[in-house]
């Protein structure tokens, strides 16, 4: 089945130790998004890629970076995690072309990041 896969599902890191979260998709979608969702809050968009074009949200801290080496994979790098970065990180994809006129986003299961 076509899907959005995130690895690992749970990640524990130490304060200040770089960490990389992975997302892959078999939907062949042009667009990949990274959201941060803190406990009991709505997801907040960090950035997205349209093909190879990177689009950063204005309020995303510099501590967060992303790479998209090919259509299928996208990585979220947190260079120096702080305690406030503990959250669920959601990857989502959408087609850059119309699909019934609506660009629905499809979400992965998320990676829960704990910072010690």
């Amino acid at each position: 089945d076509a899907m959005v896969i995130q690895n690992p599902r749970y990640q524990v890191t130490q304060f200040g130790k770089p960490v990389t979260l992975s997302c892959s998709q078999t939907l062949n979608h042009n667009v990949m998004y990274w959201y941060q969702q803190k406990s009991s809050q709505a997801p907040k968009l960090l950035f997205h890629y349209y093909d190879k074009d990177f689009n950063n949200e204005a309020d995303t801290p510099d501590n967060f970076q992303s790479r998209r080496p090919n259509t299928s994979f996208c990585f979220l790098d947190i260079r120096s995690p702080g305690l406030g970065d503990a959250a669920m990180y959601l990857c989502a994809t959408s087609s850059g072309e119309t699909s019934g006129g609506i660009y629905t986003q499809y979400f992965g299961p998320g990676t829960r990041l704990t910072v010690l």
Partner: protein, 116 residues
């Protein structure tokens, strides 16, 4: 900037009964899309139903239907014949029709409990 408001942090419904979740939004745009996403505990976010703003007809997906009032900027979700599996956090989301990779703006969510 667009905003999405879900004024009910928690709702409860008995199995087989009907429940309505509220959502209002603020936008100056005339063309956009609205979504309801469901996020079960520790599971991934999935699309429940979507609505194009230019369509007057309310969207329906099996037991799920919406009441879209464009002038009032209201987009409520009705769940009929509630089932235990409907228990989840429900997020209302807005997406501009401009651009092919426009972000989703989420409300703060409504946690739905389903009781026997």
């Amino acid at each position: 900037a667009q905003t999405v408001t879900q004024s009910q942090p928690e709702m409860s419904v008995q199995e087989a009964e009907t429940v309505t979740l509220s959502c209002t939004y603020d936008t100056s745009e005339s063309d956009y899309y609205l979504f309801w996403y469901k996020q079960p505990p520790s599971r991934q976010m999935i699309l429940v139903i979507r609505q194009e703003a230019y369509k007057q007809q309310n969207a329906t997906e099996n037991r799920f239907s919406v009441n879209f009032q464009k002038a009032a900027k209201s987009f409520s979700l009705k769940i009929s014949d509630s089932q235990l599996g409907d228990a989840a956090m429900y997020f209302c989301a807005y997406r501009s029709a401009r651009g092919t990779a426009s972000k989703l703006t989420f409300g703060t969510g409504t946690r739905l409990q389903v009781t026997l």
